[in-house]
Structure formats: structure tokens, C-alpha cells
Amino acid sequence: MKAWVFGDNLDTDAIAPGRYMKFGIDEIARHCLEGVDPCFAADVQPGDALVAGRNLGAGSSREQAPEALKHRGVAVLIAESFAGLFYRNAINLGLPAVVCAQAKRIRPGNELAVDLVGGRVRNLTTGESLACEPIPPFLMTLIRDGGLLPHLQKRLAPRASPDPEQGK
């Protein structure tokens, strides 16, 4: 995965601009980060990583911010720290968010491999291995299910359809 690198306090107004919020995610995602990097939305490839400094996702509760990134193909978020609300939104949408104290060592275009459970970012371009905080197991369950909505679907499923074990 290729790294797209941004600075500190990358805010949700930049990621999902308010004037497009009335539209669906296709349209919002087309304008994702256009005020910061006009090439991003067009050039980001499925499986790429978004790397940032401190407080990634500052600002609004709009989950269209992480949703737009995911919609454009971003597979993982790596930052020195996250705004808490944005972090919860990303995980709830099944988009892994990794806290990496040394995120600033990653340069634009570096090829990365991320181990979410073990807590490690390998920079294949430089050969560096960066420690990061492992994602807690109960949040990994959400990510593995694809986010909170599929997770709830799974949880509610036995209620919706008859339990085959019942009556045995």
C-alpha cells in the first residue's frame, strides 16, 4: 500500500467539505481533501494508506469523513494521534485506524505493510519497522465484521430468523 501523507490537525471540513454534505457518499468522496491536495481523490488507489500527524480528523462528528476516505479506497489510517470522535467513526465503518508515534517518519509514496493485531508498520521503501499501538481485540472484532452495521446484523440475526438449535 502506498502512503498519502498529511500534517497535523487534518480536519473533517477538509476531508468531507460541508457544501457537499447534502449529497450521497459518491459525490462527497469525489471532493475529499480537495482544498488540501486536489489530486488526492482522483489519484488515490484502492488499498492505499492515509498517514497523518497529530489529531487526525479534528472537528465534526460527520462520519462521511472516514466514509469518504474508505469510499476512495483508503484501507488504513495511520496517525500520531486521532481525534476521538473521528477514531470511533472510522472503526465503526470498518476502517482500521492505527496510532503510530513515529508516523512522521513515513514519506509520501512510501510502500507500507501494516500488522493491525501485532501493532507494527513496515516501511517497505526504507526498510524501517515502526511500532504502533495494537488495535484492542474488541475493536478488531468490529473491523473484521466490516464495521458496526454488519456487526449488528450478525448480532441481531438470530432474533430475525428462527434459531436451528431451539427445541432440540
Binding site: 460541508g18 497529530r54 470522535l85 452495521l149 449488528l152
Partner: protein
Amino acid sequence: MSQTLAQKLVARAAGKTSVTPEEIVICKVDLAMVHDSSGPRRLKPRLERLGAKIWDPSKVVVITDHYLPAYDEESREIIRIARDWVREAGVDAFYDAQGICHVVLPERGHLRPGLFAVGGDSHSPTGGAFAAYMFGIGATEMLGVMVTGEIWLKVPHTIAIELEGALRPGVSAKDIMLFLIGRFGLDGGQYQAIEYRGAAVRALSMQERMTLCNMSAELGGQTGLIASDEITRAYLKCEIERWDSDPGAALLAHHRFDANALEPQVAAPHSPANTRPVTDFREQRIDLAYIGACTGAKLEDLRMAASVLKGRKAKARLLVAPASLRDQQAAEREGTLGVLIDAGAELLANSCGMCAGYGAHLLGENTVAISSTARNFKGRMGASSAQVYLASPYTVAASALAGRIADPRELVA
């Protein structure tokens, strides 16, 4: 063991006698508030996909405020979905075009000390002014609350901000927050609970306390809290539970400031953390002054602006969007609104308006504005080339008179 206000509120919601910071708990939600943008239009299709109903319609409040006044096909549709959905879902607490959710919620008596509440908006910590644990969540997480009535929480540490002394005339809660955000940064709150205390906080009205807790979002806290007291009781006009931190409860940090020394603050483009005293900006010309938003156009905020504008005329274009219909009506009755209009203010709808950047009114290219709102991120209120300075309603009003950023202390009636 001594517990902070945040710990006590979380422990109650988690059904425990006490909780420890960083422990993960499941809390029962007493109140879930959503607005037109984050609420029905996102919830309805997902609830249908799950084949689920909301866990308790009596605990849900829906307020339209982002896409009002509706101005095109998309915004009309978003509002229509909200109106239809509350009927289908059996939600009685629906406030349509009554003002901004964070102001309407307590105004209509939905908040009480001790509650555990979530809101589908980042400024939901406003509810913490009532000693309720309230914080913002996104739409999918709100879906989880709507279906289960529960939410997980990492028990927060508490950062205490203690303000001793008293604010000087012309200095307000907004100045406190801009100062703190400038001092500690947008992530200074570390997604923990921020508790405001001290004589200067105790002396604040409920609406000013709401401004403190509201901008805990920009300070990076999960919530902002203030202990309940006589002022809380008087606002709610009923008997309340007293909730406060225990003496000696462990804190992550304890910052003390002298309110007497605080000057009016201004945050320069493009961050609320880009703050300096107003006197550093004296030559900055402005095209437009905006008094709006949950954090900057409540009745108290309108009164502040009026105390500066009384008997004077604005040089710059002055827009005023009162935060709620009730506040606007109260301002009209007492003459505050008349003062604003006589000074040249143009009145806008009781909605989020330009602050959210969702509506028909947006800042044009290269406009220089001073605004009593909460965020001045690049492009938020309109064109990316627009320059937005944040300040208190006093300072916005004084700047409107001068056509440049001005110190309100020379003008406060």
C-alpha cells in the same frame, strides 16, 4: 474512593458503584439526540437494513437545524425525511425549525444533572454544562445506540480547568475557550473529560457555561462538564440532583488561571487554536461580522452584542442568526433584537447557518469575516480563500462597528 464528576456519571450509566479511568464499560443511554444531517437521513435506511426498531422512542430527540431554511431539492428532501421518520418511528420529541439542537435541547427541558446522553453532533458536550455526561458520536454509532440503547466507553481521565477570580467587563466564556484552545491546542483535551470549575465558572450563567462545554470539542475533549448548582436549578426551574467531583479525586491535569487577567481573544485563520489577544489584531480590516451558532448566538450572546452596538451603526455587514426561536423571541421582547437591527444587523434563520457551511449563505471568495462561531477551518464557512477570525459576540460587535477587528472593552455599556 474519591471519584471525579465524569467517573460518577459514567459509573451510574454503567450500573457500577465506581469506575477507573481507561477501563472499558458499557453504558445505558438515557437520551439520544440527532439533527437532520446526522439523524433520520442516515438512520432510516440502516434501521431498515437491520429490520430493527429504535430501542425506546421516548429517549430520542430529533431537531432540525442544519438544512434550514431548505434552499434546494437536496436540502428539502433531507428535512422531509426527518419529518416523516419521527412519525414512523414514534418519536414525540421533535423540534422542527425551533433553533440549533444544542440550545433547543436544554431549553425544552430534556437535560438533567446525572444523565448519560449522546448526540449526533460534535458539539454535544454542550450538555455537560448541566452536569450530564454528553458527547458526540457519528451516525453509525448512533444507529448502534438506537438499536441497543447502549454504547461502549473508555472511562475518561479528568482534566480540571480552574478559573479563579472574575471575568472583566467585555470578556466572556468564548474568550476563555479561545484562550484555552490556543494554549493547549486542538488535541489538548486528549479525548478525556474536561471539568470547568472555580469562582469565575460558578459565576457564569447557564448559557455561558454551555459555551464553555460546547467548545470542549475544539479543545479535543470527549466532553466538558460543570457541577450542578443553584444556577443549574434556577435555569431548569425544578429540583435537581447535585453532581460534583469528590475532593481529592485523581486528575490527569489541573490547570489554574486568573480570570481577571483574561483579555478578549481572537483566533486567526484557519484554526481555533491560532489565538492571540484582540489587541494584536487592531489593524485587521473585515468585510463581514457574523453572530451565529450554538456557541455564539444564544440570548446571552445577543445581549453581549447589543451592549456594544446600542445606539451605534455597523460599518461592516452584520449578520445575526439567533440560536433558537425562543431566544430570538425573548430578545425581541426585551429590546435586544431591536438594538441589533437598529445597528444595521440583517436577521437570518434560527439554524446552524454559515457556521456549518451547509446552507445557502456561504462566505464568498476572499471575504474577511469575524465570527462568534466555533470553527474557522479553511473552507468551512464557504470559499477556501475566505479568512475567518473567531471571537466573542462582544468583539464581533465591536469589529462590526469599526470595520476592522476592535477591542470591545472600550465600548461595553
